[in-house]
């Protein structure tokens, strides 16, 4: 009922506006078209300057309201550079914005039609044109230089001590893989994928048909869904891939993102500055999470494709890692040494020391070789 009421009101409003508009046309004819045109011209001239003033106030007001809701300090070291660039670019474009918009609306107001004014015939002026070609070119060059310097840092090799996590997108979630004790990712091949116990298609067994051999490095890989653990102040390199369509690892708190493309691995690295707990305190939000948002349209569940990054202190990380079992044992529980009756006096198979040492950037990963398995 209320919808029809709203529609009725809208139609009524239309009719009223239309009647006023029609009446104004008749009035114009009565008053003399030229006279009423000049009258309208004055109104529009005034509205130009009014729009400028209100608009600038609006820009300020909008900023006041919303500045608290945009991201606070960057949570990664690399993100600081993004923020710095944002500020420089904002300053440059902000100045140009104010100058050009003020001139546009001010000129419109000032040079509105007047019988007294004689138009200045001014078809061109080489000096002016050269100035506003060269000055923007110089300013832009500066921005390009700053941008590219950062770009090559972001996309370059991570520091030597970086840990590595493999991130794989799927409709609609994230799979994370750590290389395990041997610091080496085992090979995977997408035809081995079994959603129930081998979500990445790790090559655990020989397969004549696919012409592939079991990769021992795959036995100790640790696979987790939805939550990724990384260490504060330790660079982390993500090797990003996708199992089905294109996804995107969006890390707004760290100011970075990178697409996850099926068949083509991409990489991204960053250094988290604050643990999740610290961020909860900093933001005053007890529910704070570092969320991975999928930023590339990937299907009807795109909006729900969330991953979580837990940034923790180093010892917490090792304590957590110690509790993780290789993914292999999930698929073949009989192979799990801890599942057999404990040997007398035997220590649990993993302790912070013996458990997966942190992976370093020197670790090699061999998905590229996966294709060859078939081709050979």
């Amino acid at each position: 009922m209320s919808t029809f009421f709203i529609i009725a009101v809208l139609i009524l409003l239309f009719v009223v506006i239309f009647q006023i508009a029609k009446a104004s046309e008749y009035v114009a004819i009565l008053k003399g078209e030229e006279k009423s045109r000049k009258h309208d011209n004055k109104i529009n001239g005034f509205l130009m300057i009014a729009f400028l003033v209100l608009g600038l106030i609006g820009v300020y007001y909008c900023h006041e309201i919303l500045k608290g809701r945009v991201l606070q300090e960057s949570a990664s070291k690399e993100g600081e550079k993004v923020d710095e660039m944002l500020h420089i670019t904002l300053a440059v474009t902000g100045i140009v914005f104010i100058i050009t918009q003020v001139l546009l609306f001010w000129f419109s107001y000032k040079y509105q039609e007047s019988e007294k004014r004689k138009v200045f015939f001014f078809p061109h002026n080489n000096t002016m044109e050269v100035v506003w070609t060269v000055v923007p070119a110089i300013v832009l060059s500066v921005l390009v230089v700053i941008g590219l310097r950062n770009w090559f840092i972001f996309t370059g090799e991570p520091p030597k001590n970086a840990m590595i996590v493999e991130v794989t997108g799927k409709q609609f979630g994230w799979i994370f893989r750590y290389p395990g004790k041997d610091n080496q990712f085992g090979k995977r091949y997408f035809r081995n994928i079994d959603p129930s116990n081998n979500s990445l298609g790790l090559i655990w067994a020989d397969n004549k048909e696919l012409n592939q051999k079991a990769d021992p490095a795959a036995y100790d890989d640790i696979v987790q869904e939805q939550t990724m653990y990384v260490i504060k102040d330790r660079p982390v390199k993500l090797i990003i891939g996708s199992r089905d369509v294109i996804h995107d690892v969006g890390l707004s708190h760290f100011r970075l993102k990178m697409d996850a493309v099926p068949g083509i691995p991409t990489t991204l690295w960053f250094t988290p500055k604050f643990t999740t707990a610290e961020m909860k305190e900093k933001t005053g939000n007890a529910n704070f999470q570092y969320e991975i948002s999928c930023n590339q349209m990937c299907g009807n569940g795109h909006y729900s494709m969330k991953g979580v990054i837990e940034v923790v202190e180093e010892d917490e990380y090792y304590a957590w890692m110690a509790k993780q079992k290789p993914y292999y044992y999930g698929a073949f529980p009989e192979k799990d040494p801890s599942a057999t009756p404990p040997a007398p006096g035997g220590a649990p198979p993993s302790s912070p020391d013996s458990a997966a040492r942190i992976t370093t950037a020197s670790v090699t990963r061999t998905t590229a070789g996966d294709h060859n398995n078939k081709l050979k």
Binding site: T3, F14, A21, S24, E25, A28, D40, N41, I43, N44, F51, G58, L66, L71, V82, M85, L86, F97, Q101, F107, S108, Y111, E113, V119, F121, P123, H124, N125, E129, P136, A137, L140, L143, V144, I146, L148, W151, Q171, R243, D244, V245, I246, G250, R255, K257, V261, G263, I264, T266, E291, S293, N295, Q296, M297, G299, H302, Y303, S304, K306, H371
Partner: protein, 605 residues
């Protein structure tokens, strides 16, 4: 001389002729030849315009529907079920329907409204009139161009009604999502129809574009050298060149996609495992290849949208400031520079796609380079206003609005073109704000400027000014209110194309803002309906145009009769003696292009 000759050959098939008896002995026009299968460029222009408007209403309505979802993700509106049936069960738009709305909104706005509706309308309408030709080089091809567009539009429309729904993978249609029906229901029949529709659209664009180029190069009237052309024509010329060179690449990308979808090839597919289906046989393809092919059109496409606006705004602004356009040659030069550079920047859409970063760095440089010719244009427009004597006709208001939008949206391009910033802002609301302002709103403002300015020439009547003023001021303010705050959402990293943000700790603080934006969007949409009403009402009831040249303009279209017939001029085509921008020269209000250069006249062009 050669102009006259080509003119004769160009129109030799009898529809028009240059002698005075013209009009009496041919053209037994029926309703069908006059209004449907018309070969008159003016009628074809109107067909493009009205089809474009129909799509604009549909595309706009779609945006209203998905804005309702964004504003009120947890409320039900029974009326939605009335409109959309099971796509909004219980009055709540489903995710599937939401993505279909977003996708089709993007596709039709970019291609049907701002490409066909904008350059299809005004290239057709203005090129023959302003260069002094009786019609296009090939009126028949011109007619075909419209009918290919019409068919394409019908097919797109039909895709809204198939059982699995229209395509829903975003207007860029990236594979593998767009290639695999098993990955998304929208990628089934809906996507086939989408591809057929777009392929026909490309054909339409090529037929039109080749015609525009041929007409501009060959059919200018006597004395109309290239450097005497109005800037509108230069803009349409570069637009057509861009279209002719880039649309075929898009078509090739689509053909490969059709093969991947239907014939088991693997151009774009590799290493894919679909839940519930299993591993696909495809190996060795690259989804990135599609992105290259798509954006090789996709980027020139945004200039195909904005260049006609730039041209028309230059013309309308100069006319109504009663002052020559500042820096005519610089304006042509910057159009040319933009046209060239537009082919060299496509990969800036792909900075985070895994593109080689070294390659990316060249695209950063070339992308920011485009800001230079854009800056030249803006400063030239500002200088054109300076010390003018401005008449705020509705067309002029929209021209000023165009410049304002172009500045606001253009400046954020400097943010996004810099890859190290794009890595944060890519695919967030920042980019939505950017391209809607600089391409969407500015493009549509250019279109409105053109419609209001040339309406008297199209229909021999004026549109209602009061409605036009309301339309302009509400739309200008509304566009800023909608898109300005979106920059903030983007800075917070809020991703685009999300159906619901309430489960995201990082993005849910913008709930109220989304309500605000949606309400403004609905108001702005309603005001566009007011414009449509004004448009159609004035066709029949508007004030009649009584003088041949109502705006005091210099260009040739205003030397034709108030209601020109097919062939445009009743007598001979006028000869041109000067450039198009002699406003306020030597104390005269304006000197038409057809006026010979006087003895004591100061020399300028």
């Amino acid at each position: 001389m050669s102009n006259e000759q080509t003119l004769h050959t160009g129109t030799a098939h009898g529809t028009v002729h240059d002698d005075h008896g013209h009009g009496a002995h041919h053209h037994h026009e029926t309703f069908i030849t006059k209004y449907i299968f018309s070969q008159d460029h003016k009628m074809i222009a109107k067909q493009f315009l009205i089809t474009g408007m129909a799509w604009a209403v549909l595309g706009g309505l779609m945006s209203v529907l998905f804005r309702v979802q964004l504003a009120y993700p947890d409320q039900n509106f029974p009326i939605l079920e009335t409109i959309m049936g099971h796509w909004a069960k219980g009055g709540h738009i489903t995710a599937e329907a939401y993505y279909a709305l977003v996708t089709i909104h993007g596709t039709v706005m970019v291609f049907f409204v701002l490409t066909a509706g904008l350059s299809g309308t005004f290239s057709n309408f203005l090129i023959p009139l302003q260069v002094g030709a009786r019609d296009m080089a090939s009126p028949f091809m011109n007619m075909l161009s419209y009918w290919f567009f019409f068919t394409s539009a019908l097919i797109m429309l039909s895709s809204l009604f198939v059982e699995s729904g229209p395509f829903s993978g975003g207007w860029t249609a990236y594979p593998p999502l767009s290639a695999l029906g098993s990955a998304s229901p929208g990628s089934k029949t809906g996507m086939d129809l989408w591809l057929i529709s777009m392929a026909l659209f490309v054909v339409s664009q090529l037929l039109g574009g080749l015609n525009y180029i041929a007409t501009i190069l060959n059919m200018r009237t006597k004395g109309m050298s290239m450097t005497r052309l109005p800037l509108t024509i230069w803009a349409f010329f570069f637009t057509a060149v861009l279209g002719v060179l880039s649309f075929p690449v898009l078509l090739s990308g689509f053909i490969l996609l059709i093969f991947d979808r239907n014939f088991g090839t693997s151009f774009y597919l590799s290493d894919i495992f679909i839940n519930g289906i299993g591993a696909l046989p495809n190996e060795g393809g690259s989804p990135i290849l599609y992105q290259h092919l798509f954006w090789f059109l996709g980027h020139p496409e945004v200039y195909i949208i904005i260049l006609p606006g730039m041209g028309m705004v230059s013309e309308v602004m100069s006319t109504n400031a009663r002052k020559p356009i500042f820096g005519y040659m610089a304006m042509i030069g910057s159009l040319f520079a933009i046209a060239i550079l537009s082919f060299l920047v496509w990969a800036h859409h792909m900075f985070v796609s895994g593109l080689n970063p070294f390659l990316g760095s060249f695209f950063v440089l070339l992308t920011l380079l485009i800001a230079v010719p854009s800056a030249i244009k803006v400063f030239n427009w500002l200088t054109t206003l300076w010390r003018g004597n401005i008449r705020f006709t509705p067309g002029m208001l929209y021209s000023i609005g165009f410049v304002s939008m172009f500045i606001s949206g253009g400046l954020t391009g400097i943010w996004l073109g810099n890859s190290a910033l794009d890595i944060h802002l890519h695919d967030t609301y920042f980019i939505i704000a950017h391209f809607h302002l600089v391409m969407g709103v500015a493009g549509i403002f250019g279109m409105y400027a053109g419609i209001y300015h040339w309406y008297p020439k199209m229909f021999g009547r004026y549109m209602n000014n009061t409605l036009a003023y309301i339309h302009f001021w509400v739309t200008l303010a509304g566009a800023y209110l909608i898109f300005w705050p979106m920059h903030y959402e983007g800075l917070a990293g809020m991703p685009r194309r999300y159906y619901d943000y309430t489960n995201w700790e990082s993005f849910k603080m913008f709930g109220e803002l989304n309500v605000f934006i949606s309400i403004v969007a609905i108001i702005v949409f309603a005001v566009q309906l007011l414009f449509l009403f004004n448009f159609f009402y004035s066709m029949y009831k508007g004030r009649k145009v009584t003088s041949q040249n109502p705006w005091g303009s210099t260009t040739l279209e205003w030397t034709t009769p108030i209601n020109p017939g097919h062939g445009n001029w009743t007598g001979e085509i006028p000869e041109v003696h000067r450039w198009a921008y002699d406003y306020g020269k030597d104390g005269k209000d304006f000197i038409a292009q057809t006026t010979p250069v006087g003895a004591g006249e100061s020399v300028n062009h």
